[in-house]
């Protein structure tokens, strides 16, 4: 796909995402994959925190086009040592952590290089599906 086709398709998907209220949308077409996510809610808001009113959750617009690395599973975060810090540069793809689910390690990769702009989780933190773990500026 050419760049402007991708850009046009991304715009269309962003509209669909906002309209549907989904947290995430991924479209694969041949070798091209477009993934859009809404801005994260507060990390670990799931456990214990009072629930927001549903309207606020659904209508919250994306705040910034951050490239978020989110958990694909429910489990416990194990940060790989040396743990990455905010502001740190990554040369290329790197395994940053794994999420442990029923004794199985689910690797979390940076999916390429960039600068770590946020680390949302700490060692041993329970995380849910879709919960942002890291933000990376490409």
């Amino acid at each position: 796909m050419t760049e402007d086709v991708i850009a046009a398709r991304t715009r269309a998907l962003a509209g669909a995402l906002a309209e549907a209220g989904f947290a995430r949308l991924r479209v694969r077409d041949g070798e091209t994959e477009i993934e859009l996510r809404r801005a994260p809610r507060a990390p670990a808001a799931a456990a214990g925190a009072p629930a927001a009113v549903p309207e606020a959750v659904v209508e919250k617009p994306p705040q910034r086009p951050a490239d978020l690395v989110a958990s694909e599973v429910v489990g416990i975060v194990r940060l790989l040592r040396p743990a990455v810090a905010e502001g740190q540069d990554l040369d290329g793809d790197r395994e940053l952590a794994y999420v442990e689910t029923l004794g199985i390690r689910n690797a979390v990769h940076s999916r390429g290089g960039g600068r770590i702009s946020a680390v949302f989780v700490h060692e041993g933190q329970p995380v849910e599906y879709g919960q942002p773990l890291f933000a990376i500026e490409r």
Partner: protein, 451 residues
């Protein structure tokens, strides 16, 4: 008693379980998919975990993520609700392997009752009347021999079947080879299990089911029967009531006796339902559902027993604490399922935003629902939005109360079954009581022809 229960479900039943837990002083953990983030069951639970995206295979059927959520939140039990993993013996085993109590019967019983041919054989051995038919037939020739013996019309059924898949009715011998081949292929494709059996087809029977409770110390009681004969052409129930109207008292007593005998015979524990076909004075066991059912509130309202609380208490090893002699039904109860469906278009499911939601209230009305004004109905799940349940001293007073309740109900944004159910309640044949499962499909045909 448990300290914290994970509710492995969504929708109204997740809220129903949440309420039972909170009334027992038990903390709750909800699970939800991306599409259900704003659902009421997420708000009412003490904690909540997103377990996957909208499609059920990756969220509400995602066993590793669900068990993991239970473990990291410190739960000691899981309530599966109905549908999804409720009758999945493997899930119950995995939960037990991780030290979590599955709120339901033991995995071996779930397995035995989930396999229809096995369930029928066990029931027959326990002295329960079953429809004339066969065990597994190896091929079409064996099926032909059985059919000749029991007489046409017959039903070919897949032992792993459900939802009408792998099922064919056959009215004459020459239809058998094609019907057998297509039903078996369908069963193989849907359930990876092409084993078939044959049953006599009972024409226009009533669907009457008996609710049972069994604790882990040998106490077994029944909580009477429910009539669920108002079924869509897809065999999904639409209106249910308790007790069954216009039922011979001798038939009623026999159903209750047979249900408790069978429950004991298979070593059943927790809440369960035995479904029967009733044709005149004949009753035939159909299947046993090893879970709480959608229509459980009609039983609750006439017996004054909270079935979901009883499920939790039984799973925690408590004694029932009452016997059959303590149970006496009062009055009549009726439930209407409010589905996001178009009754004028083969009940096609609808998704979208509910712009207006007003539920009824007042004396004798209960509403179990997970929706509210502004809620989004996702396309991934069952179309049921709410259950409206009415109770009255008599069947007529319960129906009048339901008609009043439906007239108060306003749901806009998607098409629903509300007005259609009002129409059904007004039909003289329904009003008289005792209709069979063929009544609603026939009513739909008459109604379509009249337009």
């Amino acid at each position: 008693m448990f300290k914290k229960v994970l509710i492995a479900n969504r929708g109204e039943i997740a809220l129903r379980i949440n309420r039972a837990c909170h009334e027992l002083g038990v903390a709750t953990v909800a699970i939800f998919s991306d599409a259900d983030r704003a659902s009421l069951h997420v708000r009412h639970a003490d904690e909540a975990f997103c377990v996957g995206p909208g499609p059920v295979m990756r969220s509400y059927l995602n066993i590793p993520n669900i068990i993991s959520a239970a473990l990291i939140s410190g739960c000691d039990a899981i309530h599966p609700g109905y549908g999804f993993l409720a009758e999945n013996a493997r899930f119950a085993e995995i939960a037990a392997d991780h030290g979590l109590t599955f709120i339901g019967p033991k995995p071996a019983v779930i397995n035995a009752m989930g396999d229809k041919a096995t369930a029928k054989r066990l029931m027959r051995e326990a002295g329960v009347p079953t429809t004339p038919g066969s065990d597994i037939v190896a091929n079409v020739d064996e099926a032909r021999t059985v059919c000749a013996k029991i007489g046409y019309p017959v039903l070919l059924k897949a032992t792993a079947g459900g939802g009408g898949k792998g099922m064919r009715s056959v009215t004459a011998p020459e239809e058998l080879p094609t019907a057998f081949a297509t039903a078996q292929a369908e069963a193989e494709a849907s359930f990876k299990d092409g084993r078939m059996y044959v049953e006599k087809l009972i024409t226009n029977p009533r669907h009457v089911e008996v609710q049972v409770l069994a604790d882990e110390h040998g106490e077994v009681v029944h909580l009477g029967e429910r009539d669920c004969s108002v079924q869509k052409p897809s065999h999904q129930k639409l209106i249910e009531e308790a007790p069954a109207p216009a039922l011979d008292p001798a038939v009623r007593d026999r159903l209750h006796d047979v249900a408790t005998t069978a429950t004991r015979a298979v070593g059943y524990t927790n809440a369960g339902t035995l479904e029967f076909l009733v044709a005149g004075d004949d009753v035939y066991f159909m299947e046993m559902n090893t879970r709480i059912q959608v229509e459980h509130p009609v039983t609750e309202l006439i017996y004054g027993v909270d079935l979901v609380k009883e499920q939790i208490r039984i799973a925690a090893g408590e004694h029932l604490g009452f016997t059959q002699d303590d149970l006496h039904p009062h009055g009549h109860s009726i439930e209407v399922r409010v589905n996001a469906e178009d009754p004028n278009n083969n009940f096609a499911p609808a998704a979208g935003t509910l712009t207006t939601v007003v539920f009824p209230g007042g004396p004798g009305i209960r509403v179990d629902t997970h929706v509210y004004g502004g809620a989004v109905v996702p396309p991934f799940y069952d179309s049921m939005l709410a259950k409206i349940i009415a109770v009255g001293r008599t069947r007529e007073s319960a129906i009048l109360r339901m008609e009043r309740a439906l007239s108060e109900t306003r749901i806009e944004g998607v098409k629903t079954t509300v007005d259609f159910c009002s129409e059904v309640l007004g039909e003289p044949e329904f009003r008289a009581g005792g209709i069979g499962v063929g009544w609603l499909p026939a009513f739909l045909s008459r109604r379509a022809a009249a337009v």
